[in-house]
């Protein structure tokens, strides 16, 4: 699998993501500067976490206007794989590649701690190494992760089973306490209709090494490596 990580000015988890991808795929991902315009030969495009353009105005709003965006959009339209994590998820919603928006956390504070994610479906390239209903841990670190979409958009997401992960308790139950940022319906991540584009707020890439407190995030990358092998 050939992966690329898009480097927008101000993002800061590109190296974490590169480490996680290399660990599972054996290859260093290509770093693509936001002013580039081509993604030829890339299977997976990753928009990493951070504060693109300082998160000024709205998180991801300015990055969504980057020169690289048309290439990312074309890649997605071609049925290519695109994963946006944290700021990357915000950029994907701002660019209209995923529905909804990410608002300021309900408590109006930055949230940095591990959360539990419930896997809603595992028949995708991203979740193949998890099982449906499985709960795994991932660090979160964001100030604007409060997922919002109109009622009908939410119903469509649910109807088409496009919710990827939800904030849950360790036992998989969906509570308000587990839903720290106030996201609608505990949504932590969603897929595009063709299941090729994934956006999620937490950071599985920061939990792929037992030394850092666990490997709960590793199956996501192993799954991708397997699904996109060759």
């Amino acid at each position: 699998m050939r992966a690329a990580i898009v480097v927008f000015p101000g993002i800061n988890r590109e190296r974490d993501m590169a480490i996680a991808l290399e660990l599972s795929t054996g290859h260093k991902p290509r770093m693509v500067w936001h002013k580039e315009t081509s993604l030829d030969g890339i299977d997976l495009v990753v928009l990493p976490g951070g504060f693109s353009h300082g998160d000024y105005l709205r998180c991801g709003a300015m990055a969504a206007q980057s020169p690289i965006m048309p290439a990312i959009r074309a890649h997605a339209e071609r049925g290519g794989y695109v994963m946006g994590v944290c700021n990357g998820f915000q950029i994907l919603t701002e660019a209209g590649l995923l529905p909804g928006a990410l608002l300021r956390n309900a408590g109006l504070r930055f949230l940095s701690m591990d959360c539990n994610l419930r896997v809603e479906r595992s028949d995708t390239a991203y979740a193949g190494h998890y099982t449906p209903g499985q709960v795994f841990r991932a660090p979160m670190a964001h100030g604007d992760g409060n997922y919002f979409a109109s009622a009908d958009t939410l119903d469509r997401l649910e109807g088409e089973c496009l919710v990827a992960f939800r904030y849950a308790e360790a036992d998989g139950s969906l509570t308000t306490a587990a839903n720290r940022n106030g996201s609608q319906r505990n949504i932590a991540g969603i897929y595009s209709s063709n299941l090729r584009v994934l956006g999620l707020m937490p950071h599985p890439e920061d939990l792929v090494d037992p030394l850092m407190g666990g490997t709960d995030g590793k199956p996501l990358f192993d799954g991708l490596a397997a699904a996109l092998a060759a």
Binding site: R13, G54, D206, V208
Partner: protein, 725 residues
């Protein structure tokens, strides 16, 4: 523009003698701009005029020290060809005036001190001291400072992995915000600030210059008074986004051979960076301010020279590399301007609109900078405490202590700091006595901590100084790391008061003694004086930032104890309650001498503990500090979600002394094989004692008194959540 005379000099914070010295150096009346340059360079903040004589007595050398004090940050060899570069710096006054921006720009400033030397910043820490939590103003300042530290650190993508936060009414009008940054570089690729090379271009990069923080350096050097209000317009606003770009652009440029010298524009902005760079290089420098990127119109030379606009650096380039450099900064959308060149005149010459606004000889500016041997009086020793009755009993006291503002969970604070970005954080805040951050792509890790116990320093500045260094050393040891060096941030009151200067001198003595005994030299630091409001000074607060190294991050241990593990005390407890939190919170007294620090015992005990950890014999380790033994045990149990059954104290010690005394050089270890540890200890002549067994959901004392861990954990978590709801 006002004419220059003694009155104006006084307004600029120069004494009559200092102004006379300016006249002697210049041989004429200085220009307005020249007076501004003298006043900031000779301010307490930049010249260390009250503290220098004492700072010189600090031990700063060791085989592993590459650069000690005198550079933008300290540099130590951590093996495998790598260097750790670190420093702590205060932003106290700005944080009182505007908590969010004050704290944010404090983080930004210390980051620049570290990456200007060629290091990629890998960790931030912050040591915070605030006033009485009962005051609404304290709440406002805490909230703003914590948001500011997080707002800046999270955005630049440097994990904030540790620090301290404490409360005492003496900080009501003078909160302390001390920020520390640690970076990693190849040890043969360190960048210094000494300018060289006749005619070499002097380049300005980063953000544009505005009228921000003019005279911030002098503000940081005076006491607060009623008219501090009027100083408010000098508040600087930080732009962490630009800082992030600046880090990446500078590191990219540093990978080339273009740089001759580089220095951040910190306090006193363009003035101090230009003066320090040329001064250290023994050359001259000429600046043409017409080329300085400006955010405002009609800025004067004085304003541009003194502006403290953030996120700016000054670089001396190889002339043939200007284009390489320009291309890099343009790629990152940062300003890049040649604003001058290096000369052989030994002067700093500042031109604006074709007029020479300043022409100052650099040697006298530095060498004749004021240096004061201020009078000192020794702090009287505290009377011995004698016996103190236990008014409430052990578990009620524990319950109260574990929930008090100085001992309760800090999660509310560090949950707002991104501690995992970078993917190398082995021990996060709250998980161990020191933060542990692995070096990307290596097994090696650094262990980091900040420590000081101001109430000890107040009671006995020398002992308190020793204790601060000892505790930093102990915290690094407690994760299994080898302590290497410290940075210090000396926060004190008004140095013109002999008793304050006495505190300063004595604590430096204590720090120095501990550094020598523990092979733990000072490689960088910062001084913040005049932390007084209406004559009331803060508790003397010499914050110590410690750095240690682990060859294999996998060997690091946290502080949690798991069910089934035995708890063993290493070190000996005399039950010292003087200046303890038990005495303050339970008996309502702030009295007595602080716990004595025996540096020989400290070292032998710590070396033993580290050996055991590296041998893999230890599952969890926590030193005894604020709150004493029982608080330490409780923290270990909360960390492992378990209870414990504890054995009785020795008969010859008062029970509350045993459980709550703050004796030094003590550790609690969680182990699976206690007898092996006890045997090893006795073989090494280290006092050790079995304390009990972890397990269950309650904490139970010999004799049956018991309390549920759920209750304790809830009380531990309560304060900040309720306070900030």
């Amino acid at each position: 523009m006002k004419d220059v005379n003694q009155a104006l000099a006084a307004e600029f914070g120069l004494s009559a003698e200092e102004y006379q010295r300016v006249l002697d150096i210049m041989g004429r009346t200085p220009s307005f701009t020249e007076l501004g340059v003298f006043s900031v360079m000779w301010s307490e903040h930049c010249s260390y005029k009250s503290s220098r004589v004492w700072l010189k007595t600090l031990p700063t050398k060791a085989p592993w020290v590459i650069h000690g004090p005198g550079e933008n940050a300290g540099v130590v060899d951590i093996g495998e060809g790598l260097a750790a570069i670190f420093k702590m710096e205060s932003h106290n006054h700005p944080s009182f005036i505007e908590p969010y921006q004050g704290a944010a720009t404090g983080v930004g400033g210390i980051l620049r001190d570290v990456f200007t030397m060629g290091a990629r910043p890998i960790a931030n820490l912050n040591a915070l001291r605030f006033g009485d939590p009962k005051l609404a103003n304290t709440k406002r300042i805490v909230d703003g400072v914590v948001r500011g530290v997080g707002g800046y650190g999270n955005c630049v993508g440097v994990p904030t992995v540790g620090g301290e936060i404490n409360f005492h009414p003496s900080y009501n009008g003078n909160p302390l915000v001390n920020a520390m940054t640690v970076g990693i570089a190849d040890k043969d690729k360190i960048f210094l600030s000494a300018a060289a090379g006749m005619g070499n271009p002097v380049v300005y990069v980063g953000s544009k210059t505005g009228r921000d923080g003019i005279h911030g350096a002098t503000m940081a050097s005076t006491e607060f008074d009623a008219d501090s209000e009027s100083k408010r317009p000098t508040v600087q606003v930080g732009d962490p986004f630009v800082e992030k770009l600046l880090i990446e652009a500078c590191l990219e440029l540093m990978a080339t051979d273009a740089i001759v010298a580089i220095q951040d524009m910190g306090a006193a902005g363009l003035t101090s960076s230009a003066v320090e760079m040329a001064g250290k290089g023994g050359v001259g420098i000429e600046l043409d301010l017409d080329h300085v990127p400006q955010r405002e119109t009609h800025m004067t030379a004085y304003e541009m020279m003194l502006s403290e606009s953030q996120e700016r650096m000054l670089i001396v380039l190889r002339p043939d590399r200007e284009d390489v450099a320009r291309a890099i900064f343009e790629k990152w959308d940062l300003d890049f301007a040649v604003v001058g060149h290096i000369t052989d005149t030994g002067h700093i010459v500042v031109k604006h609109n074709g007029v020479i606004e300043a022409d100052i000889p650099l040697d006298p500016l530095a060498e004749q900078a004021p240096l004061y041997h201020r009078p000192t009086t020794e702090t009287p020793k505290q009377a011995e405490l004698g016996d103190v009755a236990d008014p409430v009993g052990i578990l009620p006291a524990l319950f109260k202590l574990i929930g008090c503002p100085d001992l309760c969970s800090r999660a509310w604070v560090y949950d707002q700091y991104d501690s995992t970005v970078g993917g190398q954080t082995v021990k996060r805040p709250g998980g161990a006595d020191a933060a542990v951050v692995r070096i990307e792509g290596k097994k090696r890790a650094v262990a980091l901590t900040t420590d000081v116990t101001p109430r000890y320093v107040q009671a006995d500045p020398e002992m308190g100084g020793k204790q601060a260094v000892a505790e930093a050393w102990r915290n690094i040891t407690a994760v299994g790391a080898l302590p290497l060096a410290i940075t210090d941030n000396m926060n004190f009151g008004n140095p013109t008061k002999p008793e304050i200067m006495g505190q300063f001198a004595a604590s430096i003595r204590g720090i120095a003694a501990a550094c020598v005994a523990l092979d733990f030299p000072v490689v960088s630091g910062n001084v913040s004086l005049y932390n007084e409001t209406e004559g009331k000074g803060i508790l003397p607060t010499p914050a110590i930032g410690g750095l240690g190294v682990l060859e294999d991050a996998a060997q690091a241990v946290g502080l949690a104890a798991a069910p089934g593990q035995s708890l063993v005390l290493i070190g000996s407890i005399a039950g010292h309650l003087g200046q303890s939190l038990w005495l303050r919170e339970i008996a309502g007294r702030e009295e007595g001498p602080p716990p004595p620090v025996d540096l020989v015992v400290e070292r032998t005990t710590g070396d033993f503990v580290r050996t055991q950890i590296l041998a893999g014999a230890v599952a969890g380790c926590h030193d005894i500090a604020d709150g004493g033994l029982l608080v330490a045990i409780t923290e270990m149990l909360m960390g492992g979600n378990t209870g414990a059954v504890l054995l009785a104290p020795p008969a010859d010690i008062a029970e509350h002394g045993w459980w709550f005394g703050e004796d030094q050089a003590c550790y609690v270890l969680a182990v699976t094989n206690p007898s092996a540890l006890l045997a090893a200890a006795s073989a090494a002549n280290i006092p050790a004692r079995l304390l009990g067994l972890a397990g269950g959901s309650d904490l139970t004392l010999a004799g049956g008194a018991t309390i549920s861990m759920i209750e304790l954990s809830a009380e531990h978590a309560r304060f900040f959540a309720e306070w900030m709801n």
